[in-house]
């Protein structure tokens, strides 16, 4: 059996696959299994490698932990708002970019700049925009008061203001990549289809809905899937905006919760962290499966 499996012709292929298998196995598959095991071991201690017992207590604990529920809520709000919004805005900008002739490459470069800009610099910019300090209320608040509105503390103020900043930031950060992908997808559509549609008397809007969208649907689908996964894993952006004490700021995310359970000030609970991580994994898996099912009907691969 073993011999048959590693037949001569197969041997070479397995050899080629070996580096990837080893690395993925050590750094992806083994930890995944390990985390899965930890999540069912109560009170696991990584120093002494001991635990009290096994069972689903870890899951029931985190599901009753208000901080975890807050983190799940935050993450879902972030995902549901930013993924469609960023993809939609990126599509509009890409459509604009492909339909103009002059300054096209200049604008393309400008739209891509955020992608290559340092995160700290971006953080600084957002601080100038939104943060209230002893000296200034931030640019947005200045604008708000200029038009007669009340100033809002976006960084330490009400929940909706903070969520707004987080969504704004996330959309802004993911836009360049999406624009890049979508402009190349749009320009790869053979113009002969647009000519055919014009000759058939198709309106601009209908051409977009019936021809452009289906033709670039694989790329849109790719962006939505990776967008969902990326947004579910949000953490570093939140830290950059609101600092490390996210539970106090009510702005924690699931990944942030996992991190806090491991290394935070109240941390040292690898079992709870593992359970939360597995739940996140289950959520992402479910959403991706739903995405795939939806895509089967609506995505056209040529």
């Amino acid at each position: 059996m073993f011999k048959k499996f590693f037949k001569n012709s197969n041997l070479k292929s397995w050899l080629y696959l070996l580096p990837a298998i080893i690395f993925l196995g050590i750094f992806m598959v083994y930890p995944l299994i390990d985390v899965f095991v930890y999540s069912f071991e109560e009170g696991y201690n990584s120093a002494s490698q001991t635990y009290f017992g096994t069972g689903t207590y870890n899951y029931s604990y985190i599901l009753h932990d208000p901080y975890f529920l807050q983190a799940v809520k935050n993450t879902f709000i972030l995902v549901i708002i930013t993924v469609p919004l960023s993809t939609g805005i990126a599509l509009l900008i890409s459509l604009g970019l492909t339909s103009i002739q002059r300054f096209r490459s200049l604008l393309q470069t400008i739209y891509f700049l955020p992608y290559v800009t340092n995160t700290l610099a971006v953080g600084l910019v957002f601080m100038i925009l939104f943060k209230k300090t002893a000296y200034s209320d931030g640019l947005i608040n200045m604008l708000l008061s200029l038009f007669g509105g009340d100033t809002v503390d976006f960084i330490e103020g009400p929940y909706w203001a903070k969520m707004f900043v987080l969504c704004f930031y996330t959309v802004w950060v993911v836009l360049p990549f999406k624009i890049l992908i979508l402009t190349s997808a749009l320009s790869s559509v053979n113009p002969v289809y647009y000519n055919a549609a014009r000759v058939d008397g198709t309106s601009k809007f209908r051409t977009f809905i019936r021809i452009t969208l289906p033709m670039i649907s694989p790329m849109i689908f790719y962006l939505i899937i990776t967008g969902f996964i990326g947004a579910f894993k949000a953490y570093s952006d939140v830290v950059a905006l609101f600092g490390t004490d996210l539970n106090a700021a009510e702005m924690n995310t699931i990944v942030g919760y996992v991190y806090d359970m491991l290394y935070g000030d109240s941390g040292g609970y690898p079992s709870y962290a593992s359970a939360a991580a597995i739940l996140l994994f289950a959520i992402v898996l479910t959403i991706t499966c739903i995405n795939l099912l939806v895509s089967k009907k609506n995505v056209h691969y040529s």
């Binding site: 053979n190 002969v192 289809y193 000519n195 055919a196 549609a197 014009r198 000759v199 058939d200 008397g201 198709t202 309106s203 209908r206 019936r210 021809i211 289906p214 033709m215 056209h300 040529s302």
Partner: protein, 364 residues
Amino acid sequence: MKVVLQNLTKKFPARGKKNHGDVIAVNNFTFEIPDGKLVGLLGPSGCGKSTMLNLISGLLKPTSGKILFGDDDVTELPAEHRGIGLVFQNYALYPHLTVRQNILFPLQNLKGKDKLSKEAMEKKVVDAAKLVQIEELMDRKPGELSGGQQQRVAIARALVKMPKVLLLDEPLSNLDARLRLQTREEIRRIQKETGITTVFVTHDQEEAMSISDQIVLMKDGVLQQLGRSQEVYDNPANLFVAKFLGTPPINIFSGNVSDGKLYIGKDAVLNTSGVPNMEVYVGIRPEGFLLSENGSLCCAMGGVEVMGRDISIVSMNEASLNFSIRSIISSDSKVDENAAFVHFDLKPNKVLLFDKKTEKRITF
């Protein structure tokens, strides 16, 4: 509906530093396509045929000149409102839609008073599909069809809204030889059944001549000649037209007219009374040679190619501008392949004279 082109010109602006000056793709083109006829637009590649078609379709705007459909000036009308059907060279079927949806697509675009009920649309789709004989392929995607089937779908899509004018851009170039022959007859049949004025672009002269009511020959954006295929073949206006039409191509000699006689080399081959003494190009169609022992034109024997119905004699002459001369003779005649020379008499109506400077036809 007749289509009239008046002084149509299309210039493309020069691009890059090396090419100065505009590219004139269509130059001062004037002709009329009669109602309900099939016109073949013919010319070598790069002569502006497709530009011409795009101008008629409205996908391109002319630099100057007018286009009329019937009595309506449509020059400024965009493609979406011209009501034409266009079959693209690579068919441009929407790959994500089924055959049925592809054919239905133009009908769904109709608005206002032209809007059709679902049943009426379905009926039109079925009728169009029947016309091109693809009823059994309705639920397939274009990717699952052969080239010939895709071509039929493209024609059905162009025909379903009953266009005023049907334009076909090299519709047969993606098909194999046998299918091409069959499809061109199909196109002819469909055109006759529907009676839609049709313009057909091709670089294949045989294709154009066989199915067109009229052919229009163009070169470098300039109209060379138009007329019924046989007329143009028999009476080409200039050397280019003579060379372009006919397989095997016409044989061109350098000759001169002296005292009412045409000389090819030293051989006086024909009486050409009325033509002044001058240097000429002599074009002789392959079927214009008669095998004759005492023939006036003497050529060095090159070989004999048997083609079944006919035989083709390949010979050489110093005055010939082509390397070899090809003459088609009935296979009943006996030819000695090993002879050093072969002698021909010429059929006067298959001999065409052209001015050496202007390359224009000289009649005699």
